[in-house]
């Protein structure tokens, strides 16, 4: 399948007084129409910064963006500011994390959503309003024709997130970036929102980048998964592959610390030891090595001195990882898997 979106060697660097923060450092991935890419990683790994670059949101800030982002054949980074602005919200839309602060407190929901439509369509205010009601209906807001006069603080968290989705989808974008769309919501609402996204994706053949901490969400939604660590991809491949045959200790850590995937009876929740690295002075070699419990399985000082390349693993060509471990599969099977959910163990054995 030909990729609709390709990101190639994307770098987003922030010069600060203390030095350059390399929030994204050489990220590459692709995404086809109608497919979902899950991006996972701890807080501060550069998920939001990387995806904001696709919308060109770093323009006009001090960020230095390089590499290539191709959407439907066009290199977005080479576009003029005005050309990029015309695509924002129309071809690429973003659902932001934390809808309360991402909606303007002084304007009504209807006003804010209609604005998104009116920027890209020359229609009357009342036509835009009709469209807003239709979208709010679509995302499941009851009595949409009245609720659109509400202010964001009058909505519940789930409704705000629905409103954000309505705002993002009102122009039928071909790519939607959903930045932790369900983090703040309870499990029921979370499931509803994810269903909604899947429905809309099916109807409009939208490509979705789904950013999340939650591997459970990824397992349910994503076709491909990109695991990010310190601004880089550390494991990338088809979702099922990565969840059943992960080859990178950081991914193992994420799996072991995910409540959804860890069986409460057989396994314990194992948080990844240590803290995420500083992006100002990232560790030498593999950025994960200071926290990695498997680094003594690698001969010599390799982990500390040499950054592993993103190379195909042992199962498939399209499953790549950054790790020096010679036989990650055995380590995973013997040391990690027994702590994970029984369904997973059955599936992979």
């Amino acid at each position: 399948m030909e990729a609709f979106l390709t990101v190639d060697d994307l770098k987003v660097h922030f010069p600060t007084v203390d030095g350059v923060v390399k929030a994204t450092d050489g990220l590459s991935f692709g995404l086809a129409r109608g497919k979902t890419l899950g991006i996972v990683g701890e807080s501060g790994s550069g998920k939001s910064v990387s995806s904001s670059a696709i919308l060109g949101l770093h323009r006009g800030t001090n960020a230095v963006v390089s590499g290539e982002i191709r959407l439907d054949g066009n290199n977005l980074l080479a576009l003029s500011d005005e050309e990029m602005r015309m695509r924002r919200g129309k071809e690429v839309a973003m659902i932001f994390q934390d809808p309360l602060s991402s909606l303007h407190p002084y304007f009504t929901i209807g006003n804010q959503i209609a604005e998104a439509y009116l920027v890209h369509h020359k229609v009357s205010k009342s036509a835009a309003r009709t469209r807003v009601v239709e979208m709010l209906d679509r995302v499941g807001i009851p009595q949409a024709d009245r609720r659109l006069n509400d202010y964001p603080h009058q909505f519940s968290g789930g409704m705000r997130q629905r409103a954000m989705i309505a705002m993002a989808l009102i122009n039928d974008p071909s790519l939607v970036i959903a930045d932790e769309p369900t983090t703040a919501l309870d499990v029921t609402v979370q499931a509803q929102i994810l269903d909604l996204l899947q429905d809309l994706q099916r109807d409009f053949n939208t490509a979705i980048i789904l950013i999340t901490h939650d591997l459970g969400v990824v397992a349910e939604m994503a076709d491909d998964v990109l695991v990010m660590y310190a601004g880089r991809a550390v494991e990338y491949g088809p979702c099922k592959e990565i969840l059943t045959h992960p080859e990178m200790p950081y991914t193992w850590g994420l799996l072991s610390s995910a409540p959804d995937l860890t069986a409460s009876t057989s396994g314990r929740l194992l948080p990844i030891p240590g803290t995420p690295p500083s992006l100002l002075n990232p560790p030498s070699g593999c950025p994960f090595h200071p926290r990695c419990t498997h680094r003594d399985k690698v001969p010599g000082d390799l982990c500390r001195t040499t950054l592993p390349e993103l190379l195909p693993g042992h199962h498939r060509e399209d499953h790549t990882k950054r790790c020096h471990l010679a036989d990650p599969d055995t380590v995973f099977r013997t040391e990690i898997l027994p702590n994970l959910a029984p369904e997973l163990v059955e599936e992979s054995s």
Partner: protein, 338 residues
């Protein structure tokens, strides 16, 4: 909503009452004998006692305060001593509610003094407000959108200059150069609209109002700049940009709406404080407003006038607070009055 307004006004009234009480207590705790001032230097002990009685200063503080409050509500007659009023009915002055007192020194009621002086202070304050709001907000936005540039640094530097020079210096400087030496402006003398029409009123106000506005403007430039810069980093600004909104719409619709809201509080309170008179500006320009009245009354220990003006100023501030709070219900949808 109405319940809230009524409650706020009731609290405001109580506050005002407390203010009068504190003002009275403070002045009577001071070591100066107002009767001595009223009677003059070469007064005998006996004459002084007479004066004290005539002015009502022989009564206990709470009684004087009670008379004052009663005067505010229903008006009163002066002199305060009923015997004296009966003995010499021809000198009795009636002071209508809300009576702020009677200045023996000026032989007029404080209401009349205020009525003469207030238009001067209000004119100064209104013109200054317009100047500093326009200048402060415009330059503040300009500095914010050009942050870090030569323009921004220049504007911020100038605000520091405006802060650094005391008002009386700026006032004297303007007078000496603009009015006297170069004569590009007439020497300002307050002219009411009835006397000279709007043009003359305005022309005479330009210099003193600008002097007054300058320091405020400096503050408002800094505040506007800071508020705009802060609001432009909010998440909802990112959302607005992500919609594909034009840059100027992001700034002027989404950014300013949030940035300028907190200014409403400041404007309300600053303006209210100014209404009660700009002491330095009015003194240097010899504008007979409430500020100058306060200075003169203080110098002469004209107790009734001082008390009257202090309470007037207090009521302006209390009223402004109520208005600001209520207006927030209209500006900020998150504020629910109840």
């Amino acid at each position: 909503m109405w319940a809230y307004i009524v409650r706020r006004c009731a609290v405001g009234l109580a506050l005002l009452l407390a203010l009068t009480l504190v003002t009275f207590a403070l002045f009577f705790a001071s070591p100066v004998d107002p009767a001595r001032f009223a009677c003059g230097k070469n007064c005998s002990e006996q004459q002084r006692d007479q004066a004290r009685k005539a002015l009502g200063y022989d009564k206990p503080v709470y009684e004087q305060w009670g008379n004052f409050v009663k005067g505010v509500v229903v008006g009163r007659d002066f002199p305060a001593d009923p015997e004296l009023r009966a003995a010499a009915p021809e000198v009795v002055t009636h002071c209508e509610a809300p009576c702020l007192g009677y200045s023996h020194l000026n032989a007029r009621t404080v209401n009349e003094l205020v009525k003469d002086a207030a238009p001067v202070s209000i004119s100064l304050a209104v013109v200054a407000l317009v100047m500093w709001l326009i200048g402060g907000v415009l330059f503040g936005i300009l500095a914010a959108v050009t942050k870090g540039s030569f323009m921004d640094r220049g504007i911020v530097g100038l605000t520091l200059v405006a802060y650094a020079f005391p008002t009386f210096f700026i006032a004297v400087f303007f007078l000496k150069y603009l009015a006297v030496k170069w004569q590009v402006m007439p020497y300002p003398a307050y002219t009411s609209i009835e006397e000279g029409g709007i043009a003359a009123w305005m022309l005479n106000l330009l210099m003193p109002s600008f002097t007054l506005a300058l320091v405020f403007m400096a503050g408002y430039v800094r505040m506007t700049r800071a508020f705009v810069l802060e609001s432009m980093t909010e998440d909802y600004i990112r959302t607005a940009r992500a919609k594909g909104l034009q840059g100027r719409k992001v700034l002027f619709k989404h950014g300013l709406r949030a940035a300028l809201t907190p200014l409403v509080t400041m404007v309300g309170l600053d303006f209210a404080a100014l209404l009660a008179g700009a002491i330095i500006t009015e003194s240097v320009f010899a504008y007979p407003g409430l500020g100058l009245l306060t200075v003169q009354a203080s110098a002469a220990y004209d107790l009734p006038t001082i008390i009257g003006v202090v309470i007037l100023a207090g009521s302006f501030v209390i009223l402004a607070n109520i208005i600001v709070d209520i207006s927030y219900a209209f500006i900020d949808p998150r504020v629910r009055l109840g």
